[in-house]
Amino acid sequence: MGMVGQSLERVEDLTLLRGGGRFADDLAEPPGCLHAAFLRAPVAHARIEAVDVSAALALPGVTTVITGADIARETKPFLSGVKVDAPQFPLAVDRVRYVGEPVAIVIARDRYRAEDALELIDVRYEPLAAVIDPEIAAGDDAPLLHNDAGHNVLHERRFRYGDPQTAFAEAAHVVETTVRYPRNSCTPIETFVVLAEHRPGEDTYEVTANFQGPYTLHTVMARALKVAGNRLRLRTPPDSGGSFGVKQAVFPYVVALGIAAKLAGRPVKWVEDRLEHLAAATSATNRVTTIRAALDGQGRITALDYDQLEDCGAYLRAPEPATLYRMHGNMTGAYQIDNLAIHNRVVVTNKTPTGLMRGFGGPQVYFALERLVDLAATRLALDPMELRRRNLIPGEAMPFTTTPGAVLDSGDYAATLAKAVREGGLEELKQRRTAARAEGRLYGIGYAAVVEPSISNMGYITTLLTPQQRQRAGAKNGALATATVSFDPSGAVTVAVSSVPQGQGHRTVLAQVVADELGIDPGDVVTVTDHDTLKDPWSIASGNYSSRFAGAVAGAAKLAAERLAKRMKAIAAPDLNVPIGDVELVDGLARSISNPDNVIALVRVAAKAHWSPLSIPEDAGAGLRETAFWVGRELREPDEQDRVNSSGAYGFIFDYCGLEVDPADGSIRIDRYVTAHDAGRLLNPALADGQIRGGFAHGLGAALLEELAYAPDGSFLSGTFADYCPPTASELPELMILHDQSPSPFTPTGAKGLGEGNCMSTPVCIANAVADAIGKPVLTLPLTRPRVLELLGESEPADPSPPRPAIITSSGNGHALKGNGSHIVPASPEEVWAVILDPDHLAALIPGCHNLERTGENAYRAEATLGAGPVKGRFTASVTLRDLDPPRALQLSGSAAGGLGTATGQGEIRLTPVEGGTRVDYFYAVLISGKVAAVGGRLLDGTARGVINQIFTRLADSSQSQTEPKTETMPSLRSRLPRWLGGAP
């Protein structure tokens, strides 16, 4: 019995569990290695007026400071998938376009010192209007991110397959919805690591980075560094702390650190920290989709019409806009739909650039399509599962070419659906729903049917070009995968692949695949998982992405092992004295099939090939090493009708779940979640289930918890894992996994990818179930408890005692603070007015004020140390007073900047004489961005209240001290003034 198909234990785990993993940060640093830290933009959009690095350079231990000007001189802009005039470099050159964009690099003896120096770099920004919402950004009068591009929409194309217009005109029903898929990320536990050296004698860069591919980006990096590919030696470490696509985005840092090493003249290492990662590493695209379906009277979908507005962040970073085109062949989902229209637009906004992410394009498409299918079912009063069943591509049609061109390789979707219904206990869930609803509880069932593509066609991105443009540019196609298998002189087998494992268990599965071909024990196979672009075979499609391992990479290993097995047989045949066709490899032996007693140990066969190369048959070849390149023959370039087989293999998933919504707090309890997969042949079922569970966890996070949130001004609000909330074990329900296995005819192993599917199916399946439970449409994610309660739409009981005595109240979303309140000050309006307009008095009112100077009529500049408790920062503020109406009212506006962040705001103060003094009413609106907005949003409001309270306490005290100096128990203002002014924070 073969090893493939068995749940072998992972060979990786013993070492990893004992702490023996060799991750990027574990690798030895070369002698003299320096450390880099990045200065990052605190604001979303600004022109860089000046960068003064002199103080940073003067700090002992700091070697070099690199700015955008250096990078612009040393590198070429990165290539991207769309040719537009929107150049991008690893550092901002004259403008910052998102919070967290690198602005400068400090290279120092250690990271601590480098971060000390970051605080000494003085960057003067001229703020520009930021645009965050893709729909606003796509407007003709939106603030431009890239002036030379002329518009924020950097790519637009319309596609038409069949005759959608007629189909819609003749439809019995047309349904439409607009959904918004949010920004999220897969947040691997290991962040980016880059260790770069430059050898000036040969102008060669040697870089070790936890890069994951695709190796198309090697070309992008080498070009940016202005060297040929063989002068950028890129190595990857043996172990990875996860990637899920994310580590693709380390590539700009490979270039940045290469230049850093060149300019510093020493090796330089950089380890990204979590703050940097969440703010600026990469993200999935957020997408606004308006989708329409035409249906006939029987519930058959006759046409689909997509309008997709894809938000790629501030730059179209390679390989974007691939997220939009990865699914192109699959835009009809799991359904046979003959007519299709697609309108694609890609827009830039002041957010972190997007990139590869587990699910890549799938979650966005299926959130629209599968929500729409549910809406159609509601419209037609059909069971949502029944409507899906009526539209599924029939099993007998396989391989089936979809309307936009995907060649679906195998599967019987209806059979998998039926199996899921039967074995997952759908009827039981329906009974539970009936029972729960009878009690008035909110129980819902949701479904999702999904085709999961794997093994990306290197040509799919060219679908964004017109056929004429493609013809000029030349065809791009295929999906080269590479593997090398060898016998050493001791007879031991080693496998190397041009993939970069990220914890999935490549070594285990490769051992299984190769062991079967060579008739050996998988435990005797050693797999090398680090990669070196100078020494190891690779190609542009190399790397670990698009779920290409099981089908393509393990497939290449199988081909290499097959060839090696053939040669081993050829070498053994003369010694066994039988024809080659009578030799089999089994149990570590070459054995005669006709006479199983006639054997020779494979170690002897191998030894002979090494020690006596002249003694083996000439046609057995020399050297026991085979490298196979698998290309994926079906992966042709897009045709003239823009049909594209965007991936090499396609799995099928049918998910459903039953869940209950608690109307008291909006929480969602998942009663049961069933996921049925047909991913072709399973090479190792235990590892397959592990992949499915991981994809489900990411999918559940996207559905319920995770969002990279930005404020309208571009402030980043999800700077730590307290605000960006991936699920933990406590949040994950038990998952029921079912399998069918329809082998792919197109991959050597018969396997398809399966690690991304639940990222595509789970978010919409849960959204559908919630919509079913609450009877309202779900148009965006994540379904956090507050958001679910909002959807339920129950109004809260009124405030029983308005108007309340004035207290400071404010409302905002963490970074946008708005507040108002009032205080009674025991002094006349004139006296209060005098205090407010007197710089000395004003200074005394501001807690932690170091100095306050008048810079013009009614304009002030102040330095103050502000904060809450131990969190204090020094801010420089400029404030202007206007619309002065003494002693009744004034307006103020201003801004403050400091190491903790920046604030801009305005306010109003009104003085009204009342019995016992003056009522001071005030209103303020402040926008806060930078570090505190990203990591402390939860606490900003209370902090602002604390500071304002202090100001009014002081105002009351100071006015009192003027009016009633004798009865004052506290030291008078005049005696306190010097202490405040000169005092320590």
Binding site: R111, L275, D665, S718, S730, T809, G814
Partner: protein
């Protein structure tokens, strides 16, 4: 995420610690478990010149019950208190501690450190306020005891002076015939609470404590109410506290959860007292 430079002092005796604190008033921070301070140091939100590590001070490692109080020294971790056999004498504390952070953070995070940090969403300041407990502050000038209400003054703000540190917290033991309940809601288990609610009831009525809504824990005493009467009382409290909006929840959601969790903890307390 590397802290700015600081001097590190790890004294063996409390008087040494207080001497270092007196010498570096304004520029020193006391480090116990570091579960909040460590992150703030790494993010350079705080940049003390001197860090005084009190985690090894044997004088602050005690948990003892006398005078109707559980006194918890400033070096005692949340996990140590959770495992302390006498904790059953204060059921509210026992009910609440499992909600403080995660198993891992409770191994290092201290009870008094959480009080000193004064996060408006923290569970332990809420419990201390509910139980009318106190903190013992010490400096070279002497020591003083502040009630919970006097101690925490705002978001991450306390009445502790710059030369003072918490040496112990005192949680009154449960009075006979009381019952208590605790609930909270956050994005995930172990996260900062969006709203936390605690109740302690006796024959005459119930005290309700709410965390996460106002800048400091809010405690209200209510008679036993049912139905619409309780609804009205909770609605009044919700609107008094008002709450604010952040990335996790709106002020309205917080008020809704004051009503919802308030009703739950009061109901549980009532049930335990009268339907047993």
């Amino acid at each position: 995420m590397k802290p700015a430079g600081f001097d590190y002092a790890r004294p063996d005796r409390l008087d040494e610690a207080l001497a270092v604190l007196a010498e570096h008033t304004h520029t020193a921070r006391v480090l116990a478990g570091g579960q909040s301070l460590g992150a703030m140091l790494n993010m350079r939100l705080v940049t003390p010149k001197v860090l005084i590590d009190i985690s090894a001070l044997a004088e602050l490692g005690h948990i003892q019950a006398d005078d109707g109080m559980i006194e918890v020294g400033a070096a005692v971790t949340q996990d140590q208190l959770l495992r302390w056999p006498g904790l059953k004498e204060q059921p509210l504390l026992a009910q609440t501690l499992p909600w403080v952070g995660h198993y891992q953070t409770r191994q290092r995070g201290t009870v008094c450190g959480s009080l000193a940090h004064g996060d408006p969403s923290s569970e332990l300041p809420l419990v201390l306020a509910m139980l009318k407990g106190a903190v013992v502050l010490a400096s070279q000038r002497g020591s003083r005891t502040l009630t919970a209400a006097d101690f925490q003054t705002g978001t991450m703000q306390t009445a502790m002076r710059d030369d003072e540190m918490i040496v112990a917290a005192r949680f009154p033991l449960a009075a006979p015939g009381c019952s208590s309940a605790f609930r909270e809601i956050g994005p995930r288990r172990g996260d900062f609470a969006i709203v936390a609610a605690a109740a302690v009831g006796d024959q005459d009525g119930v005290s309700l404590g709410i965390g996460g809504v106002a800048d400091t824990p809010a405690i209200r005493r209510l008679p036993w109410l049912d139905g619409a009467g309780l609804d009205d009382a909770l609605n009044t409290i919700a609107w008094e506290l008002r709450g604010s909006s952040d990335g996790h929840a709106s002020a309205a959601y917080r008020r809704t959860q004051v009503r919802n969790l308030g009703r739950q903890v009061i109901g549980e307390t009532q049930h335990a007292l009268f339907n047993r």
